[in-house]
């Protein structure tokens, strides 16, 4: 889940500073890059050993449905009867070369699963980030401009509500109102069946439906894809919007007390204009970094959102593989999420270091 408040102390960069001085930047980035490896290693190892505590993947998936002899044969064939350490090292070697193993239940390379469904999750995450920015930043500005008055209190409550409402309950309510009662938008899926078939028939596909639809030049397909994206995007986006709102508000209140803003205020500039034209830019820089930090929460939320809207991405697949107890598939998806989180956190630190020369080890 996302944490409710983020304040980035001292992150508002001084525009006169001329960017990073260069001293120590490269070594810092190299060290920071190398730190991705242990982070991912810890998570992947943890998941590997935790999963193995429950037994081997074959027994987990087929136990009770195969005779002991068949089980044993399958175990031997997949190499699960070897010492655990050998299997672990093998698994790590595979990961390093981009081989995530094979799924047990439908026997396909895990990388294939990741490739097929990763695009859908990435697409959903982009919609959600867009919604979060469009909702969170303007509302944060309004809250800061009307600090401690009715709009601010209302928006504070709104931010807390976006946190308190599970993303799947938001999704169900949106579905109930906008898809079922009002019938304005489709209730599930990434596109209508015919559009989906049409998109998969294209000569080269990216898996990101919006891009595929745009490239096909078919207006109805684009419209259909966008209509399907609205409800899941809003459900997941609101989760992050609340965090952004509070962050923007806090940072703006900080910059609003700066001397140059005070000067503008004394010239009679209206409160809202003061925010948008004077205080916003330095206050928005930390938003970039915090958005990056929200990726972990976004991925967790994506699993739930995809299940709610039958959005066939990695999260939907994860839930599916969990119910059939396909450990290699679960492990692979979780490992990919770990890599994505670690890399985004690295990129966040890079951005922070480029913006603010004080960020160094």
């Amino acid at each position: 889940m996302t944490t409710l408040t983020h304040e980035v102390p001292g992150a508002a960069a001084d525009p006169d500073d001329g960017g990073p001085t260069g001293q120590g930047l490269v070594p810092y980035l190299v060290v920071r890059f190398l730190l991705i490896v242990p982070t991912v290693l810890v998570l992947v190892s943890l998941v590997f050993f935790l999963m193995r505590l429950t037994g081997d993947p074959i027994t987990a998936a087929f136990g009770g449905r195969l005779t002991p002899d068949q089980l044993h044969a399958k175990l031997h064939q997949a190499g699960y009867d070897r010492p655990l350490l050998t299997q672990y090292l093998d698994y790590l070697r595979g990961l390093a070369t981009g081989d995530f193993g094979r799924t047990v239940t439908d026997n396909q390379p895990v990388t294939h699963v990741l490739g097929t469904y990763g695009a859908a999750t990435a697409e959903l995450a982009c919609y959600a980030l867009l919604v979060a920015l469009l909702v969170g930043v303007p509302l944060g500005m309004v809250a800061a401009a009307h600090r401690d008055r009715a709009p601010d209190a209302g928006l504070r409550l709104f931010a807390i509500l976006t946190y308190a409402t599970p993303v799947f309950f938001v999704g169900l309510l949106l579905k109930l109102v906008f898809a079922i009662r009002l019938g304005w938008l489709p209730s599930s899926g990434r596109a209508s069946t015919d559009v989906q078939l049409f998109l998969q028939d294209q000569s080269s596909t990216t898996g990101v439906y919006l891009i595929d639809a745009l490239r096909s030049g078919d207006g109805t397909a684009v419209g259909d894809v966008l209509r399907h994206a609205v409800l899941p995007g809003v459900a997941l986006g609101l989760l992050v919007a609340g965090v952004l709102l509070r962050l923007v508000r806090t940072n703006l209140i900080g910059t609003l007390s700066a001397d140059y803003v005070e000067a503008a205020r004394s010239r009679g500039v209206a409160p809202l204009r003061l925010v948008t034209h004077h205080a916003a830019r330095p206050a928005l820089i930390p938003v970039v970094t915090v958005l990056g930090l929200q990726v972990a929460g976004l991925l967790g939320g994506a699993v739930l959102t995809e299940t709610t809207f039958e959005w066939k991405g990695l999260g939907y697949q994860l839930a599916h593989y969990l119910t059939v107890r396909d450990f290699p598939a679960v492990q692979g998806i979780v490992a990919l999420f770990a890599v994505v989180v670690a890399v985004t956190n690295f990129l966040v630190d890079v951005v922070a270091a480029l913006i603010d020369p004080r960020v160094r080890y």
């Binding site: 810890v42 999963m51 987990a60 008055r149 308190a164 599970p166 579905k175 109930l176 967790g300 739930l304």
Partner: protein, 318 residues
């Protein structure tokens, strides 16, 4: 400038303090409602959480809300109101279990790591950092697979859920306690204790620990919220508690997905509202406590309190 202050300040302080108090009261009220519902569940709920029939005949599936069932019945034929009320009990149990399971190990590890330092400290910090960056829900999913072996068992359901929730909170308590311990152990009174010959164990428990856990109650409220949300997420994905061992809001929401598609609202809305109101209550409570503990905020909204009180009793509400 002065004019602006005169025009803005009284208004700001008045609503600031009023909002503060309203948030605190709402949070306390919702939390009290939740705890009472959980405690009095068996008296409040018209039926049992796994009850399918009353006297003669089944409740029936997907009954509309009416006299017999104020909030209707689910597709499996449970009474929605009863399951929603019983759900509070499960949520409270999970909060208590998850807090216990994460506070104790988190505090002990944080204390040892912060006080002893060295290689153990580096190892634990690395581990906590890696876990911290990971979506708690995924961690909980992995954990629930480990504990229940991927099968839901009536007995282990609650325990598995509590452990799953706890595992993502241990690193949080660890980080907070460790940071406090490192700060506290540099204080003169710790040196004084060492000088008069107190052993490391005594210093750790007596002097350092007691001064390092003051911030924890604030984290309790956050973690209570997250415990409910994580459990609900697990339940929604089908990894929670089976309906015949306890009522769980996330599980009920999972069952209601198909209902929503056919326009049935009463199986989804009550358990969902249960989650929202409970999390809202604990979060508001936590936020207000944080605000009260923050001297900067306290001075701004609290210092001219007497004047504020008077003007507010004047009946201005905005």
């Amino acid at each position: 400038m002065a004019l602006v202050l005169v025009r803005r300040l009284p208004l700001r302080l008045r609503t600031g303090a009023g909002v503060q108090r309203a948030l605190l009261l709402t949070g306390a009220a919702l939390t009290a409602l939740f705890v009472l519902t959980a405690a009095l569940g068996p008296l409040l709920a018209p039926h049992g959480y796994a009850q399918l029939q009353h006297g003669h005949g089944l409740f029936g599936s997907q009954q509309h809300p009416g006299a017999a069932h104020p909030l209707g019945t689910t597709i499996a034929g449970y009474d929605v109101l009863s399951r929603t009320v019983w759900g509070a009990r499960t949520a409270l149990l999970i909060i208590l279990a998850a807090l216990l399971l994460s506070v104790v190990p988190g505090t002990v590890l944080g204390l040892a790591s912060g006080y002893l330092g060295g290689r153990l400290d580096r190892l634990l910090v690395g581990l906590a950092d890696a876990l911290y960056a990971f979506p708690p829900l995924l961690l909980a999913i992995v954990m629930s697979l480990v504990i229940s072996g991927g099968r839901s068992s009536p007995v282990g359901g609650l325990g598995a859920a509590a452990c799953s929730v706890a595992v993502s909170f241990v690193p949080q308590y660890f980080r907070v306690v460790r940071a406090e311990v490192i700060r506290v152990k540099a204080e003169p009174f710790v040196d004084a204790a060492r000088v008069i010959g107190a052993g490391p164990w005594r210093i750790m428990t007596r002097h350092v620990l007691r001064n390092s856990v003051r911030t924890l109650p604030l984290i309790f409220t956050i973690n209570a919220s997250e415990a409910i949300l994580t459990l609900a997420g697990l339940g929604f994905l089908g990894f929670g508690i089976e309906p015949n061992s306890a009522a769980e809001w996330g599980y009920d929401l999972n069952r209601s997905v198909a209902d929503v598609t056919s326009g049935i609202w009463w199986t989804a809305v009550p358990p969902g509202l249960g989650i929202v109101l409970t999390v809202l209550g604990t979060t508001l409570l936590g936020e207000s406590l944080t605000d009260l503990a923050d001297p900067r905020l306290r001075r701004r909204t609290g210092a001219p309190a007497p004047a504020t009180e008077k003007t507010e009793k004047g009946g201005d509400d905005d």
